[in-house]
C-alpha cells in the first residue's frame, strides 16, 4: 500500500494522542488527589468537630471544677472561721475574765467600754490550747461610778474575785457632771500578774 500522509501529520497525530493519554492520566491523578483531599478535608472537619465537642465538654467540666474549687475554698474559709470560733469558744481566759468583770460591777457602776487583749500561749499543742492561763492578757475598762468609794470597791472586787488573778491599776479617774449629778469617770487596766519564780 502507498502511504501519502506526510510524516509531520503522523507525528502531530501521535503527539496529540500521547497528549490526550497524559491528559487522561493527569485527570485520573487529579481525580484521585481531589478525592484524597476531600477525604482529608472531611476527616479534618470530623476531627475538628470532635475537638470542639471535647473542648465544650472540657469547658463544661472546667466550670464544674472551678465551682468545686470555689466551693472548696469557701469550705476552707468556713472551716478556718469555725476553727477561729471554736478557738474563741475554747478561750476560757477570755470567758472567765468577762465573767469576773461582769460580776464585779454593781448597781453603782456602769461599764462604757471594755478592751480585752488576751493572747494564747506560743505553743500550738492541744494541751496549750486548753490551758490558756499561760498567755498574757490586758483588760482596759472604761466606765462611770458614783464616787471614789464605789470606784475603790469596784477595783477591790476586780482584784479579789478575779480568776485568774490580775493586777488592777487605776489609770485615770475624774469627776464630771452627768445628767443632773456628779459621776466619777474612770479607766482601769487589769493585767496578768507576773510569774515569780520559786
Amino acid at each position: 500500500m502507498a502511504e501519502l500522509i506526510p510524516l509531520q501529520y503522523r507525528l502531530r497525530v501521535a503527539q496529540r494522542q500521547q497528549f490526550s493519554n497524559w491528559l487522561f492520566i493527569g485527570a485520573i491523578i487529579l481525580m484521585f488527589a481531589g478525592a484524597a483531599l476531600a477525604y482529608t478535608f472531611a476527616w479534618e472537619r470530623q476531627r475538628c468537630s470532635e475537638y470542639e465537642t471535647l473542648h465544650d465538654e472540657f469547658k463544661t467540666k472546667s466550670v464544674i471544677i472551678g465551682r468545686s474549687q470555689q466551693l472548696r475554698a469557701a469550705r476552707n474559709t468556713l472551716a478556718s472561721r469555725m476553727q477561729k470560733i471554736q478557738q474563741l469558744m475554747d478561750d476560757k481566759v477570755l470567758l472567765s475574765l468577762l465573767r469576773n468583770i461582769s460580776e464585779s460591777f454593781s448597781g453603782n457602776d456602769s461599764l462604757e467600754y471594755i478592751q480585752i487583749d488576751a493572747r494564747g500561749s506560743s505553743s500550738k499543742d492541744a494541751s496549750s490550747k486548753t490551758d490558756t492561763t499561760d498567755g498574757p492578757y490586758v483588760v482596759r475598762i472604761t466606765g462611770i461610778t458614783n464616787n471614789s468609794s464605789t470606784l475603790a470597791e469596784l477595783m477591790t472586787r476586780l482584784g479579789k474575785n478575779s480568776t485568774p488573778a490580775m493586777n488592777v491599776v487605776l489609770e485615770t479617774s475624774r469627776r464630771e457632771a452627768y445628767l443632773d449629778g456628779q459621776v466619777m469617770r474612770f479607766q482601769i487596766v487589769c493585767e496578768k500578774p507576773e510569774n515569780k519564780g520559786t
Binding site: M1, A2, L4
Partner: protein, 321 residues
C-alpha cells in the same frame, strides 16, 4: 480512557464521482461491516475536487451518523501521478533524492509541493546496476486539504492510499491464483483505471477517461473499444518495458462490471478469464450482517471495491509501499 488502536474504522473511497464509506470493525484480524453508505459529489472543476469530496463526506457523516472517528481513505487516481523510476545503485543520492530528481521533470505541479511513496517492482539484485520502483506522487497541499477537512469532521486519518493499491489487497483475496499476475479494471461513469497487481503489489496502473459516458449500463458499450485500447496500451508497455505478459485473469469492478457484454468483450479481446466478483465476497459471512447482505446488489457492491480493499488492508493483509 487511554487511547488504544480503535476497533472501528471508516474506510473511505474518495472516488471520482462519489464518496463511498464502509464502517468496519476489525478485531483479531477479522473484518466485519457495520454499515455502508455513499454520496455523489457535486459537479465542478478538478481543482475543487477535494472540497467537493469533503462536502459529500460531511453530508454522509451527518445523515448516516457514523460514530467512528478513525478513518482510512483512498485518494482518486486523477489527483495522483504514478511513474516507474529506475534507481541507480552507483549514484551517490538516496532513492528518495533520485525519485525527486526524476519526478520534477514530469510533475504537473511544483516539485516543492510533493509527497510520494514508492515500492520496488523489479528485483533489487546487488549485481544489477539499476532497479525499478513504482512511485505514487501527489501534491502535499492537496493531501493537507483532505486531512484538514477530515479533522474538521473530527476524523483522524490513519492511512491515505490510492485506489489501485487499496484494491491490491482485495484482489489478493479474490483472485483464483493470488500469486499470479492479475489485471484489474475499475470503471466509473466518466473515468477508470487499469492496474496490474502481483502478490498484493501494484506493478503498474494507468488511468483513463470515458468522456461521453453517462449513466446507464448501455453507454459503457459504446466505450468498450476505448477501454480495451487502454488495456492494450498498458499490456504493450508492460511487455516492452517490463518484459511481462503472463497475466492470469482479468477482474472487472465498478460501473458496468455486472454487464455480460462488457465481460464477454474483454474475454474475447484479451483471451483471458474475466470475472466480476463482489468485493464483499472476500469477507467472512459472520462479518456481514443480514441487512447489509440483503441491501447489497451486485451493481451496488462492486462500487465499494476500493473501500473494501482499504478495510482488508487494515485487517492485516499488508501490501507494499
Amino acid at each position: 480512557m487511554l487511547q488504544k488502536k480503535p476497533d472501528n474504522t471508516l474506510a473511505i473511497d474518495l472516488g471520482p464521482e462519489a464518496v463511498r464509506v464502509i464502517d468496519v470493525k476489525i478485531r483479531k484480524g477479522q473484518t466485519s461491516i457495520n454499515s455502508f453508505a455513499s454520496q455523489s459529489i457535486e459537479a465542478g472543476t478538478p481543482e475543487t475536487l477535494p472540497e467537493r469530496h469533503l462536502s459529500a463526506l460531511a453530508s454522509l457523516l451527518t445523515t448516516q451518523r457514523f460514530k467512528t472517528h478513525q478513518c482510512i481513505a483512498a485518494m482518486p487516481t486523477s489527483l495522483v501521478v504514478t511513474r516507474t523510476v529506475a534507481l541507480d545503485h552507483n549514484k551517490p543520492q538516496t532513492a528518495e533524492e533520485q525519485i525527486r530528481w526524476t519526478l520534477q521533470n514530469c510533475l504537473p505541479f511544483d516539485a516543492k509541493d510533493l509527497v510520494f511513496d514508492f515500492w520496488p517492482i523489479s528485483e533489487n539484485l546487488p549485481t544489477a546496476r539499476t532497479w525499478e520502483v513504482l512511485v505514487v506522487a501527489t501534491q502535499a497541499s492537496v493531501v493537507h486539504r483532505y486531512l484538514r477537512g477530515m479533522e474538521k469532521m473530527k476524523l483522524t486519518c490513519a492511512h491515505l492510499d490510492v485506489a489501485p493499491c487499496a484494491m491490491a489487497s482485495l484482489i489478493a483475496l479474490t483472485a483464483a491464483n493470488p500469486d499470479a499476475m492479475i489485471g484489474t479494471v475499475a470503471l466509473s461513469e466518466n473515468v477508470g483505471f487499469f492496474a496490474i497487481t502481483e502478490r498484493q503489489r501494484v506493478l503498474f496502473w494507468r488511468p483513463f477517461d470515458l468522456p461521453s459516458a453517462g449513466k446507464g449500463g448501455q453507454n459503457i458499450h459504446a466505450h468498450l473499444d476505448r477501454v480495451g485500447d487502454e488495456i492494450s496500451k498498458c499490456v504493450s508497455h508492460m511487455v516492452g518495458s517490463m518484459h511481462i505478459d503472463n497475466m492470469s485473469e482479468l477482474l472487472v469492478y465498478g460501473h458496468g462490471s455486472e454487464d455480460v457484454v462488457v465481460t464477454e468483450y474483454l474475454k474475447n479481446r484479451f483471451h483471458l478469464p474475466v470475472r466480476s466478483p463482489s468485493p464483499f465476497e472476500t469477507l467472512p459471512p459472520a462479518g456481514m450482517p443480514a441487512d447489509v447482505q440483503n441491501a447489497l446488489q451486485h451493481s451496488v457492491a462492486t462500487g465499494y471495491c476500493t473501500a473494501v480493499g482499504l478495510a482488508i488492508q487494515q485487517s492485516g493483509v499488508i501490501g507494499h509501499g
